[in-house]
């Protein structure tokens, strides 16, 4: 599937990523007992991000998940671990493509998106690493819903 982020276009195997996440969603979300905090959607919803900021936020979030989430989500369940690494590989590939587009100066960060991403990092750093990573992984459908919302 081709996703459009401003001037950048990224093909991502959304159906596979979604299927992988759906298979482990209940397992991952049950490891996150904190209902009162969200990494991605509160206090300010991803859906409020302006379309001009979509590319920058997406690039930041792909890097965030690759560098700060997937690697801290090892579980005792090999099935879950396999699904996580498959999703991680898809994110790595998408980040590389988006990075190429950025080099052509097509993925500029505005003030609002920088602020939004700071908020996400603050939410993440408000928890210990494992809890924050597991909560972020449990919110993958929030990210995918937003990424696909206006393709």
């Amino acid at each position: 599937k081709i996703l459009h982020f401003g001037a950048c276009r990224v093909s991502m195997s959304m159906t596979e990523i979604r299927a992988g996440f759906t298979a482990i969603k209940a397992n991952i979300q049950s490891r996150d007992p904190i209902r009162t905090l969200s990494i991605l959607s509160h206090p300010q919803s991803l859906h409020k991000v302006k379309s001009s900021d979509r590319c920058c936020i997406t690039r930041h979030l792909l890097t965030f998940y690759v560098d700060k989430v997937f690697k801290h989500c090892r579980t005792e369940d090999s099935f879950v671990n396999r699904k996580i690494s498959s999703i991680a590989n898809s994110f790595l590939s998408a980040r590389r493509k988006l990075g190429q587009c950025r080099e052509q100066n097509n993925c500029v960060c505005g003030e609002e998106s920088t602020e939004k991403f700071k908020q996400i990092l603050a939410n993440y750093e408000g928890l210990n690493v494992t809890s924050a990573a597991m909560k972020s992984l449990g919110e993958l459908d929030i990210l995918l819903d937003w990424m696909e919302k206006s393709r």
Binding site: K1, M14, T15, R18, A19, T22, A26, Q29, S30, R35, T36, L37, S38, S41, H42, S45, H47, G138, D141, I142, L144, D145, E148, K149, S150, R151
Partner: protein
């Protein structure tokens, strides 16, 4: 009210059942309890700090509660919880898993209208509407919610039992070169590519 000592068994299988984003909480009565059990329901928006009681589902004896109104923003995710009361004692609060209206709803089949000439059939498909609070509220088609929505159409020649399948993005289809004087059965299904959601085929 002060919390009672809760020794009643818990309600079971607390979960959302959602069709076209009409989101209804369902559960089963606690094991071994006969009639007379009453229930209270609360819900929360994931990432927001508080549980909110549902007044219309306070001290009810049925085992469902319509939370469509409270969960209508499909950019949010939700939890709901149920507590049982009987003869002065109670159960614990029992929660659902995290409910995402966008990915966890089921979709009804499309409406199919058919007209024909002697050698062709024209099919017009209409996607169902998202649940709405009242008839006066503006309708939102699920087509607007799921931009990747497609239709799978099946056309069956009732005489030869030969069947054709079509997958279309827009909502009209003309099937030409048919046999005059022959009965055909048309059925259609909605297919959303991601998140993967499939309706059943229309009757």
């Amino acid at each position: 009210s002060g919390e009672l000592y809760c020794s009643l068994p818990n309600p079971r299988n607390v979960h959302f059942e959602s069709i076209n984003m009409k989101n209804v909480l369902h559960w089963s009565a606690p094991e071994g309890t006969g009639d007379g059990v009453l229930y209270r329901v609360k819900y929360s928006v994931y990432g927001v700090g508080k549980w909110i009681r549902k007044p219309e589902c306070r001290n009810i004896n049925r085992t469902w509660c319509d939370l469509s109104n409270e969960t209508s923003d499909y950019e949010e995710q939700y939890y709901a919880s149920v507590k049982a009361f009987l003869n002065g004692t109670c159960s614990d609060w029992v929660e659902t898993t995290r409910f995402n209206p966008l990915t966890d709803t089921k979709i009804d089949p499309p409406m199919v209208s058919v007209s024909s000439t002697d050698k062709s059939i024209s099919i017009i498909l209409t996607a169902p509407e998202k649940w709405k609070r009242s008839p006066e509220e503006e309708s939102v088609s699920l087509l607007q919610v799921y931009p990747g929505l497609q239709y799978n159409v099946s056309v069956l020649n009732k005489k030869t039992k030969k069947r054709w399948f079509f997958s279309i993005n827009n909502n009209t289809l003309v099937v030409p070169w048919l046999e005059p004087g022959t009965a055909y059965c048309v059925s259609a299904q909605i297919h959303v590519t991601t998140p993967v959601l499939d309706s059943s085929f229309s009757k």
